[in-house]
């Protein structure tokens, strides 16, 4: 019997502890990852006014799960208000916003034009804020580090936000938004304050995250080229209602300066500015 055991033991696969933990983690994350698709949004005759000022006058929009939608329009057209309503930052007057199924609060995340990092918390702690109630779980630090690594800032984890550049701060904000693996990401001109080069960098970072995670993305922007570069679909808001709803066909990754690109940009700008007023 003992001999038999001795014979058997060397054959048995030794349990590698690190591998075991890794596999357990994958198992735990797996069901989440498989259902990790964006949520569909259905917005029905949405109205919102601030005092006498009617900002949204009946917006209807059906967004399939996982779509990347850019919302463009002149300032004051209500695009930011629409985003704030979707994020639950304002109350709806009339109409409705449906997410297809029961949502957890962490399923909808917002990224603002300002990074809004806590200056008194270091970078990694700021990312952990994004985990919401789950930041007290044992592996919160690891998840935050993963998210930080995904935006290329793992080596700045211990720094204060005050020592980062504008683009780096916005990348930390992106990591914070993504760390809870949201199913809808609302972006309110998050790249508006960045310089042109950093903006292009951030655009590809954002696109990569969207392709990897498959969330539904709503990007409010005043930069038509940005909308054309990133979105599956461009919605133009005018006077608080949808004025134009365009599908963007070019395959990804998109090359800036292609003729198709230019035509699309032209169409939208024409509509935004009025054809006669363009030089």
């Amino acid at each position: 019997m003992q001999e038999a055991l001795r014979f058997l033991v060397p054959d048995a696969e030794p349990v590698d502890r690190t591998d075991f933990i890794e596999r357990a983690r994958r198992l735990r994350d797996a069901p989440e990852a498989s259902s990790r698709r964006g949520l569909p949004l259905s917005i029905r005759s949405l109205h919102k006014s601030f005092g006498a000022n009617q900002v949204l006058r009946g917006v209807d929009l059906q967004i399939p799960a996982g779509q990347f939608v850019a919302i463009v329009g002149r300032s004051g057209c209500g695009k930011s208000t629409l985003l704030r309503l979707i994020a639950g930052l304002e109350t709806i007057d009339t109409g409705s916003i449906g997410f297809g199924e029961a949502t957890r609060p962490a399923d909808v995340r917002v990224m603002f034009q300002e990074p809004r990092l806590l200056p008194w918390a270091n970078v990694i702690a700021n990312v952990e804020v994004g985990l919401g109630a789950r930041r007290r779980e044992a592996d919160a630090r690891r998840r935050a580090l993963d998210a930080l690594a995904a935006v290329g800032l793992a080596d700045r984890a211990a720094d204060w936000p005050g020592n980062l550049s504008g683009g780096q701060k916005q990348r930390v904000a992106l990591a914070r938004a993504l760390v809870s693996r949201p199913r809808v990401l609302a972006l309110d001109e998050p790249l508006g304050a960045l310089d042109a080069l950093t903006r292009i960098e951030m655009q590809s970072l954002l696109e990569a995250a969207w392709r990897r995670e498959g969330f539904t993305a709503l990007l409010v922007t005043h930069d038509v080229a940005e909308a054309v570069a990133l979105a599956d679909r461009i919605v133009l808001l005018e006077d608080g209602a949808v004025a134009l709803d365009l599908d963007v066909a070019p395959p990804r990754p998109r090359l800036r300066g292609s003729p198709e690109f230019g035509r699309l940009e032209e169409t939208i700008l024409d509509r935004l500015l009025g054809p006669r007023r363009r030089p």
Partner: protein, 267 residues
């Protein structure tokens, strides 16, 4: 990685700075000039005793135990008064900064009381408390209350609303929002209040002790005046200066410790 990141900060903090003595050059020069003026006969000893005489008076008082006892009594009064007035001011500042109702209820009253110079209450306080400990503590607490109240309130009011909105979106509870966003945001302003309050604390205490006390530094100075011991009077004044500096250094050290994130404290 986090260790390496924080190394330069620790090293900068630990290194004995060779220029650390620079701030003391001017006080030292003043004392030297003062000594020279006294020895040279420029200043008569009845107007201003030489630093050496002040030092020897201090040594005598130290040996008799009187000096330490008086410093301790004053120090205790200052700390206890500061703790009482400071905590009440802090609590009111929090309440009025966080609750509109509380603010409407109490702010007007507090602003009216604030404009009464608290030292004007000394006659009344003597009538109420006699020259008991409670009289001094009451005055110090009252003096310390307002700078802490006003600056706590201001700090909480001026916390970036965008950060509060961010905290709410990320699901922070009220307690968490306070702990992680509102309080740290208000802290720089609270420290301004603390440093103001420390100055007022000494001022109030010394005035109160010179008028109504039977122990403490202020009492020691008043007694010395009665007996024309001008060296002891000057000694008391010098001790006030040193205690004031000590209080200021303590609050600065606390600031550096808690506000290391702030660009102004990273040098």
């Amino acid at each position: 990685m986090s260790l390496i990141e924080s190394l330069p900060r620790i090293r900068r903090w630990r290194l004995p700075r060779p220029d650390g003595l620079v701030p003391w050059i001017v006080p030292l020069a003043i004392v030297l000039v003062w000594q020279a003026a006294c020895v040279g006969g420029l200043v008569p000893a009845r107007v201003l005793p030489a630093p050496t005489e002040v030092a020897s008076a201090g040594w005598k008082l130290l040996l008799s135990g009187e000096l330490l006892r008086n410093i301790w009594v004053s120090f205790w009064r200052a700390i206890v008064g500061f703790a009482i007035g400071g905590s009440i001011g802090f609590v009111f500042g929090l309440a009025n900064g966080l609750s509109q109702l509380s603010n409407r209820l109490t702010d007007t009253t507090l602003q009216m009381v604030r404009n009464v110079p608290h030292l004007a209450l000394i006659p009344l306080v003597i009538l109420w408390f006699g020259i008991d400990e409670s009289a001094k503590l009451f005055l110090v607490a009252l003096g310390v209350f307002f700078p802490i109240y006003l600056n706590t309130l201001h700090g909480i009011r001026t916390v970036d609303p965008q950060l509060i909105e961010m905290g709410r979106i990320y699901g922070m509870s009220d307690g968490e929002l306070f702990r992680r966003v509102i309080f740290p945001g208000a802290l720089p302003s609270i420290f301004v209040g603390v440093r103001f309050a420390l100055g007022i604390m000494w001022l109030t205490l010394i005035v109160a002790e010179t008028i109504a006390a039977s122990s403490g530094l202020g009492y020691m100075a008043m007694q010395a005046r009665e007996f024309m011991q001008i060296d002891v009077v000057v000694l008391s004044i010098l001790i006030y200066a040193l205690l004031g500096k000590l209080a200021d250094s303590t609050s600065r050290a606390l600031e550096r410790l808690t506000l290391s994130w702030h660009p102004a404290f990273q040098k």
